[in-house]
Symmetry: C2
Subunit: 371 residues, 2 copies
Amino acid sequence: MFTFSLTKKGAGTGGRLGKVITSHGEVTTPVFMPVGTQATVKTLSPQDLRDIGAEIILSNTYHLFLRPGHELIRDFGGLHGFMKWDRPVLTDSGGFQVFSLADLRKVTDEGVTFQSHVDGGAKHFIAPEQAVEIQEALGADIIMAFDECIPYPATKDYAQESLERTHRWARRCREAKRDTGQALFGIVQGGMYPDLRKRSAETLVDIGFEGYAIGGLSVGETKPLMYEMIEATAPHLPADQPRYLMGVGTPEDLVEGVDRGIDLFDCVMPTRNARNGTFFTSFGKMAIRNSRYERDSGPLDPECGCYTCRTFSRAYLRHLFNAGEVLALRLGTIHNLTFYLDLMRKIRKSIEEDRFREFKKEFLAKRGQEE
Amino acid sequence: MFTFSLTKKGAGTGGRLGKVITSHGEVTTPVFMPVGTQATVKTLSPQDLRDIGAEIILSNTYHLFLRPGHELIRDFGGLHGFMKWDRPVLTDSGGFQVFSLADLRKVTDEGVTFQSHVDGGAKHFIAPEQAVEIQEALGADIIMAFDECIPYPATKDYAQESLERTHRWARRCREAKRDTGQALFGIVQGGMYPDLRKRSAETLVDIGFEGYAIGGLSVGETKPLMYEMIEATAPHLPADQPRYLMGVGTPEDLVEGVDRGIDLFDCVMPTRNARNGTFFTSFGKMAIRNSRYERDSGPLDPECGCYTCRTFSRAYLRHLFNAGEVLALRLGTIHNLTFYLDLMRKIRKSIEEDRFREFKKEFLAKRGQEE
């Protein structure tokens, strides 16, 4: 099952509150989805995810298709049964990874042929119908239409040609999708061309999906251009359906995205940064390996209530990173994801209390100052 | 504070039950100490250690002296305050690591000069007085006398000469030790020579320590020879003081050690094996990467109640290892340490119930069959 209901429109902002209901539970939007590429949010157990308050996670179709294989995962009850996460899951379509990770791609109208990065160059073929079939096997609550991701910059001719194909593929995904109880989202593309973005949104809405994603952003363009593309898209998507900004972004991007009407986000930034020893905090980013923290007895972030901040000193965390200890990666991930999830909680609260714009102003001013 | 009391002598075995009381709590012996070399039991948080029922852990003086430095750790309240583990800790003296890890060692009667493996070849000097001072700064509940570890095989002349030095060092450690409330253990050496082992035990008892360790075993000798050396030593140690077999060993070694009167054990085997995907189970060792587990929906060990076995399938764990996921290391470590700690619980129960020998017979028969 899948329903989305808008519970509140924010005052003086495109930001809104909503509720997604799936057969694995409810999600309050706007929400951030930790990325669990290979059926695990790197370093964390399902218990850890529950402890930090994650409501929904994302997993990557491309990686799981290659290893361990979607059929194996289906036999274990889908991703939920395989990784023992009983709350909602969203899978991407594999499109982005095929275009960014695979070798020797050959794209035709039919689909994409490619060699994988994990199984010694075996050849694979994914068409829209396969992308849907794989995601049905993975069993996520929300699945995505197969799309083509174009590089940045791209000419308008190329962007337009690719977009037409993405639309044809979206239609084929819609047609291939069986009655599994999973929601299928379409993905708006169109490069950095506002008119193509608008057309893409309208075309997909015409096909009809349970939700709509904005793809192809955060690929090297400037922040103003990214925000412009969101503005060129969101108004053309149905107000009563969820909007998902794919692969974005920084804490600032989340605030800007919400302001423009986005309901769902995912990004590897908090988890990947954590594993490099870079932390998001209430006073900006910090690199724990910096020698200034060598004897620092304070928590990573005094305003954070996560296990890491409640328990350990900066000096100890710095030691773990310097000594190459695996525990560092988990403790850092717990903190960075808590920071992101806390931010979303604060955003939701500020919308609830009709003070999102004030929240945004303060938040950006504080980070601009201290980062 | 430190006290040891013998609470029960086993029937028909050298095995016994005891209680260690320290200012960080009690430990029931025989006990296995997980190894936390760099102020962390690799992959586990202090919460994880509590969850699996660890009562006492070991940390390595040599590593902590080099990084982050014992003075820093002292300023954070010792190891307990630094790593946030509030139960007992034992530190080794650094002797074994100086002899196995450091470069360009120069051993004199005064002490050992060496270059370290972590700080770009800086020169360091550790004498018995320094080993005690470093361990006082680290603040463990039990600290060890500085000893020389000889290679195997070694001539009797060399073993004897080294042993005399180890005894002189033990005396200097005893004299250097201040009134810190920490227990100081002496380390019996003597290579594979029963008469030297006996002499070493007697000499150390004469100096007088709060407990006695048997060092220099599990260095390449056969199992029968190792057990023979324990038998040549333990009877010459005071029955009312704790006996610690250093760096040993397999589950079978723990059972054999207890039978010969050992109270404390430590070994990297469960943690290191876990990180390689090799697990200790009730039916012997298993390598999770084996393709036979690809679609295995059962737990690692059906007789184990750890978080890993309660939650995940072999197929999922195999996937995590194959995909190089960090979570695999922690889940594996939780299981292997639980196996070791459960084994010690079973051993203690069987001594309590006067059926240790039956337990031992069944345990060894089962593992001999299936491993």
